[in-house]
Chain length 521, copies 2
């Protein structure tokens, strides 16, 4: 219980904060002489002899501070002043900084019922697992059926460490019809943790992770386009990955799986396109890792991609993003149950490491403004006193997200694919970014989100600028002010969805007189 007192200081009395405490424990008569007195009634500053602290300070309080460095933003004061109001504090005019009405200060009071033996329940940690909260979350989820599988039965050589996979499986789903010319295919590259199930269909009616973005009349209009989505190489939703059985050994690869690159992911999907007889994509589309892949497809296969769409992504990974993914990998790898990645048949699963990793990921996927609006300082239970356990809704939310996601994705998939994202640098392969992005022959759309902390918007600006500087005269760059941070691509139909639809369906021809570009060479 808080005991409220008024700030009214009597000169010469000190230990102001212990006054009431002293009064209640030592008895009012035992107040030491050097204890400040507090009165519990309303007293004005004018009742007291003010104890000033030097003319400098006194003068300082009376006037506006001119500052020494030009402030970037200082609004004029707008307060109303009180002079001698009933509860206002009135100082002498020489000392007055302003006259304000002071409310009581709550000061904790020590009484015998206070828990002096410290046997409270602070250290019992009844951390609640109830009161979970949900919201507009990604629909990434495990799928075990409802997809087709492409089997490539030859060795597949990888970019790094002379890695080779003896064969390759890719799970994929399609929507719409491939036309006779086979030129209406749109390849949807996924983020790190997504399956091929971007959209519900007859074989799997659960909503997909991009449910509202794909379909008849949608951003990717399946009345017009043949949409394809593939579970990434390295994934765990039907494609070859660390949890797959290595045909050479009959056991799960675990961390015997070779190191992956984004280029490997892209190249494997073009093998599927070959298999489907698709020579040239109408467009490649992707966000986050998918944006890297989409861009990479335009660089590696400039003649096979008609339009490139790259949302909330980058042309090369930057140290802050690497740091965020590194810490997720570390959380998993330090879990003893991870067992160097060979946990599949041990009956132990690195749940706690994976959960922390997914909570960390959630922190990087969303943003301050959304959480401010959604959670603010809301408590899990409004009447509970704080403990060392989660107290605020935001903590509960992260816990919930971590819990939900901790068993949906193979921890090794997270490790391998996040590593591939770290390694991603289109400039590395082609000498520099300009050379790499100069290869992209198709119109390219870049979308960035101002609240994204994982792929900050300056990286999208860099990407759009370098594309243009490298010679691409059909770059569409949109910068969105969505509050959803990195996850905007999963949620923002009106910004991301409309942008993609417009870019895909606009006849990219100039009507009227063709503008002539002057060749500099």
């Amino acid at each position: 219980m808080l005991h409220t007192i008024r700030t009214s200081l009597v000169k010469g009395h000190k230990h102001c904060l212990q006054c009431l405490r002293s009064a209640s424990t030592l008895g009012a008569q035992d107040k030491p002489d050097n204890v400040r007195h507090f009165s519990d009634n309303t007293q004005t500053r004018s009742d007291m002899a003010p104890s000033r602290t030097g003319s400098e300070l006194a003068e300082a309080r009376g006037n506006q501070h001119p500052g020494v460095i030009e402030p970037l933003s200082v609004k004029g004061g707008t307060q109303s002043s009180y002079m001698g109001s009933r509860r206002g504090i009135m100082s002498s005019s020489a000392n007055s900084f302003k006259n304000i009405e002071l409310q009581p200060i709550p000061v904790p009071e020590y009484t015998e019922d206070r828990d002096l033996d410290l046997d409270s329940d602070v250290d019992t940690f009844p951390c609640q697992n109830s009161n979970k909260t949900s919201g507009p979350e990604p629909e990434y989820d495990n799928i075990v059926s409802g997809f087709k599988t492409f089997h490539y039965d030859q060795p597949f050589a990888l970019k790094y460490r002379k890695g080779v996979l003896p064969d390759l499986h890719l799970a994929y789903e399609t929507w719409g019809e491939l036309n006779e010319a086979k030129d209406n295919a749109v390849l949807i590259f996924t983020g790190l943790s997504a399956s091929s199930h971007a959209k519900s269909h007859e074989e799997n009616e659960r909503p997909g992770w991009w449910e509202k973005f794909v379909g008849p009349g949608c951003a990717i209009n399946t009345d017009q386009f043949f949409a394809i989505c593939v579970n990434n190489l390295g994934g765990c939703y039907g494609s070859s990955g660390p949890s797959s059985i290595n045909p050479s050994t009959g056991k799960a690869y675990g961390t015997k799986f070779p190191i992956l690159s984004v280029e490997d992911i892209v190249r494997s999907q073009f093998l599927l396109l070959d298999h489907l007889g698709i020579d040239t994509l109408y467009a490649s589309v992707g966000s986050s890792l998918g944006g890297m892949s989409s861009l990479c497809s335009g660089v590696l296969f400039p003649d096979r991609v008609g339009k490139v769409i790259c949302v909330s992504s980058c042309a090369r990974s930057h140290p802050t993003s690497i740091a965020m993914r590194y810490l997720q990998r570390k959380a998993i790898m330090m879990d003893p149950d991870w067992q160097k990645g060979h946990f599949y048949t041990t009956g132990r699963y690195p749940k706690s490491g994976m959960k922390l990793a997914r909570e960390l990921a959630t922190l990087t996927y969303r943003s301050g403004p959304e959480w401010e609006e959604r959670f603010g300082r809301k408590r899990i239970s409004e009447d509970s006193e704080p403990s060392l356990c989660p107290h605020f809704m935001i903590e509960n939310y992260l816990d919930y997200q971590g819990e939900m996601a901790s068993t949906k994705l193979d921890p090794n998939t997270l490790i391998y694919i996040s590593k591939a994202m770290d390694m991603f640098d289109l400039g590395e392969t082609f000498g520099n970014l300009h050379s790499a992005l100069g290869r992209v022959k198709s119109p390219t759309m870049v979308i960035g989100v101002q609240t994204d902390i994982l792929f900050p918007v300056w990286q999208q600006r860099e990407l759009a600028n370098v594309l243009q500087e490298a010679g691409n005269n059909a770059v569409t760059y949109y910068e969105l002010n969505s509050i959803y941070g990195h996850d905007t691509f999963l949620l923002d139909l009106s910004g991301v969805g409309a942008g993609i639809k417009g870019f895909l369906e606009t006849q990219l021809t100039e009507t009227g007189r063709t503008r002539q570009r002057k060749d500099k060479n």
Copy 2:
């Protein structure tokens, strides 16, 4: 080894990426009919019969994309075009998007020396502990001597849960001389993990955590001011905290320590001021948690603080900051060696949890721009192939910072004080922020940093605005563009240091004609 080829497509041949692979493993004569051919020499696009994919796409490529949403920033293309240059690709004019010179695509080649049995060292994790990197890091450090101790031998009641400490120790250090009027004291409130050792002195010559900011002629000029710095209540550098012995039990408190608040931290330090006979501070100064405390001192003791300085802080904690601290606590608390906080005499220390927590903290203290400049994509070893271990300098840096900091701070101190920061909300105690900040009677300086992700700059703007709206007509607000993120306050002498010095030493009186403020009441 990467085998480089030119992109030159021959219509009708597919599986382009497997071409060389097939050629090398199956023999050039065994190329299946559906394999794309690659030539290794320089071939131009005009040599080939282009396989176009519909007039729509063809047209699209030839022109500028008009867009459907007004782009925020699209620069005009600046490329130079090649027509028929030796290595350039020349398409038919109807199809030409642009004419560019394509460099070779590196395609991994499968040869027998590639490691098909997957017995590589990918899963050996020789994660390096060498090659550590250092830089302008905080000088927070453990101290065991060279400070004075204030002992308050009465029960100290805390804000939450009716918590009480039977007594109180506070470690503190001072610099400069307290003048006769005792009105030249500047109280330096610290951040979460700092000791009282802000500055070297005779009893402890090691550099302090604010070494260059405090001293003769410095930002806090000890020729003029009597600087005081206290190890926070809850700390582990001489003040009462979870690692202290509870006199009631003779054992370390551990998580029997009562829940702390920022108000408790501030009130305890004013007991020390009483002890020193300091009625009124010339100023309180603090950054981060210290900024919360400094501001809080102006709210709780408006008559005892002459000027308030609050750097990279806030008036209440926001959910993203809470989330960042929550994950640090979680990393510690899920370490089995934490043992519900009672690890002190067990011979086990939650090292790995604490290390991960400190790595996480480092992520929140620094910022993208600095890391971009300092590390970019630098490798730990330039000639190493990627593995699942750290590969980039940024990973090594975080590992190093975590390692260094993991044993310098009591994990329970981190848990308790970070919780106090989460709970901090000046509006909570006084109904709302306006009422709380309206209590501050002294000139107040607020400094924010644009790259701070832990205390984003909008929170400093909020603080400065609310102070002004609540009636403070002497608010100095500086917004710094330092690249050092939250840690700017530890590093930026020219911005933070000069600002503080100017604010402390400027005679806050108007020279010349006094401007009259119109009272609205």
